[in-house]
Amino acid sequence: MNFDLILGILQIVLIATTPLVFAGIGELVTEKSGVLNLGVEGMMLVGAVSAFIILVITGSYFLAFFVSIISGIIMSGLFAFLVLFLMSNQIATGLALTIFGIGLSSMLGKQYIGTPIDGLSPWFFVIFSFLIVFLVSYFFYKTKAGLILRAVGESHNSAHALGYSVIKIRFLSILFGGSMCALAGSYISICYAPMWQEGMTAGRGWIALALVVFATWKPERVLIGAYIFGGVTILQMNLQALGLRFPGQFFSMAPYIATIIVLVLISSNKLRIKLSAPASLTIPFYKGR
């Protein structure tokens, strides 16, 4: 194999995997605070369409990404309001957010299907995705605020007893998750594709959810996992382009199978699950108890 080909494939893998890293790290922070948000796919789609629309209207990349992130904050804020203040079921609320986001993005983007735009070079975001993972890792393990966030996710009652505002910390974590998911979406519609199409995130939100589990809630492993998942997808496309006849569907389902295996491995051992999943994940916090 010649060097140029390898370099080319590496480039494609980097560009294709970046949205998974963004969405994955966002969801990781949310889950670390003890909240499971299944709305990743919906937030990504709304982020993608809002960035695209703003870019078409204003022509400003900065505004496009800015508004997209705001849209992610609004979407996740809606989720946060329901699960934190109205103590609704996190799983059902997350699914509602995804269903709502799919609908909203299709409706908003209807007249923009097929509108041509000048795509933005992805490299800034590729580098930024690595940076954000290391920042999150630093935040979790080297700063006091990160420690508090993790404590809230492990035992909200203890954190509350120590005087930390569980609701506030979870609220901010959810908003961070939402803005990262929207960034992932806008990267897809402005850098990666670049275009708008209904449902264009194509299940990456679900892969991002799988990724957090696969990474056993460790930031650096999100990066590793994303590149394994992303690499497999690109490998499959290249092998098929080379004319190899094999069912690509089995490659496509690999991330989901891998996630189930990891889930089983970490949960079969009581000690290991203690080290991995945030103990308060999906449990609502109610002060009056």
Binding site: M87, S88, A92, I99, L104, S106, P247, T282
Partner: protein
């Protein structure tokens, strides 16, 4: 003097009255929000809501279509209530539906040139087995390895969808299908009989109503239903009473999977007639909304399935007459679930104004 903002206080017993009113409140709020959205989009809200919710069911054909859509939703939702009543978060009904369609539809493809009375019952049985087996995977992982069922059942959805995709572009592709990704059509006796000439509503509706009745009986008249309910309310009490949680998890998943599988098979052997990629417009996920909206009660689920089915039909009409993408139906589905979940607070908590002085 009372405080300005109400504080939330846990009720000692959930409010039965609110349990009845919350779904109605959320539907009304959804309609109000929907009209606001339509106004923002520049439509006359009365005309838009009429197009969305009234015109689709203003003909016999429309009402039949409503039942066609409500059938799988109600069947899956009643299956889900076995899980949800026991606090088991099976969110993978879409995968169980797909696997049911694969197993039952596979039998239909195998006997594509056979016309016999036993074919359809065998396919229905295959659908139930396929769905139940797929549902049992998270059940086994949960009971054997203590693995959280939320993510495993969700991941299994996508695995099932890829398996179906593989089958219809690969080994099960119709040899006379001009390389379209679809299977051979089933034989005439492998199709769900239609209930009325010229309408698409099919025998799956009868199966659904029968299984809802059976479920009502199980929930309210049997010890199994009682055990499900008790271990949902208080796992500790259930353990103390000696209920076997492992058995309950297995049964809940198997029944839910089987119902979803039958729903999948009813789709492919009913309106569709063969296997292809997009056999379900998210019925498995939407049924979660139906189960919540119906408060896990058989009668409630029947009404909820009709309401949610209407959002599918309305979306199709909105696309035709208002040129809004049919995905707008998802907005209504998402909204109704948002309001429902938010308003659920009123069932388990009450708002009181604290006395300051």
């Amino acid at each position: 003097m009372n405080s300005l903002f109400p504080s939330i206080v846990s009720r000692s017993q959930s409010s039965g009255l609110m349990n009845f009113f919350v779904p109605i409140i959320s539907i009304v709020l959804t309609l109000i929000t929907g009209s606001i959205i339509f106004v923002l989009l520049g439509f006359d809200p009365v005309y838009a809501l009429y197009t969305f919710f009234i015109s689709p069911i203003s003909s016999t054909y429309g009402i039949s279509e409503l039942f066609v859509k409500a059938t799988p939703l109600a069947l899956i939702a009643i299956g889900l209530s076995y899980c949800f009543k026991n606090n088991i978060y099976n969110i993978g009904a879409e995968g169980q539906l797909t696997m049911g369609a694969i197993f039952g539809g596979g039998i239909g493809i195998l006997f594509h040139d056979t016309n016999a009375f036993w074919l359809l019952p065998l396919m229905i049985f295959g659908g139930a087995i396929g769905g139940a087996l797929w549902g049992l995977i998270p059940a086994i992982l949960k009971t054997k390895f203590n693995t959280n069922e939320i993510l495993t059942s969700l991941m299994l959805v996508y695995i099932a969808l890829y398996i179906l995709d593989y089958l219809v572009v690969g080994p099960w592709k119709d040899p006379f299908g001009y390389s379209f990704p679809k299977s051979r059509p089933f034989s005439e006796s492998g199709r769900m009989p239609l209930l009325f000439d010229g309408l698409r509503v099919h025998f799956g509706l009868i199966i659904t109503l029968f299984l809802i009745f059976v479920s009502w009986f199980i929930f309210s008249k049997t010890i199994f239903g009682f055990q499900l309910k008790v271990s949902g309310y208080s796992p500790k009490a259930a353990r103390y009473a000696g209920f076997n949680q492992t058995t309950l998890v297995f049964f809940a998943f198997a029944i839910c999977g089987a119902f979803a599988g039958i729903a999948g098979l009813a789709e492919v052997s009913g309106p569709i007639g063969l296997l292809y990629r997009d056999i379900s417009p998210n019925y498995g996920f939407t049924a979660i909304i139906v189960a919540f909206l119906g408060r896990l009660h058989p009668i409630g689920i029947i009404f909820a399935s009709l309401v949610i089915a209407l959002t599918y039909l309305g979306a199709e009409d909105a696309q035709l007459f208002l040129q809004i993408p049919s995905a707008v139906g998802f907005i209504f589905q998402g909204l109704v679930l948002f309001y429902l979940l938010g308003a659920e607070l009123l069932i388990n908590y009450k708002l009181t104004y604290k006395k300051l002085l």
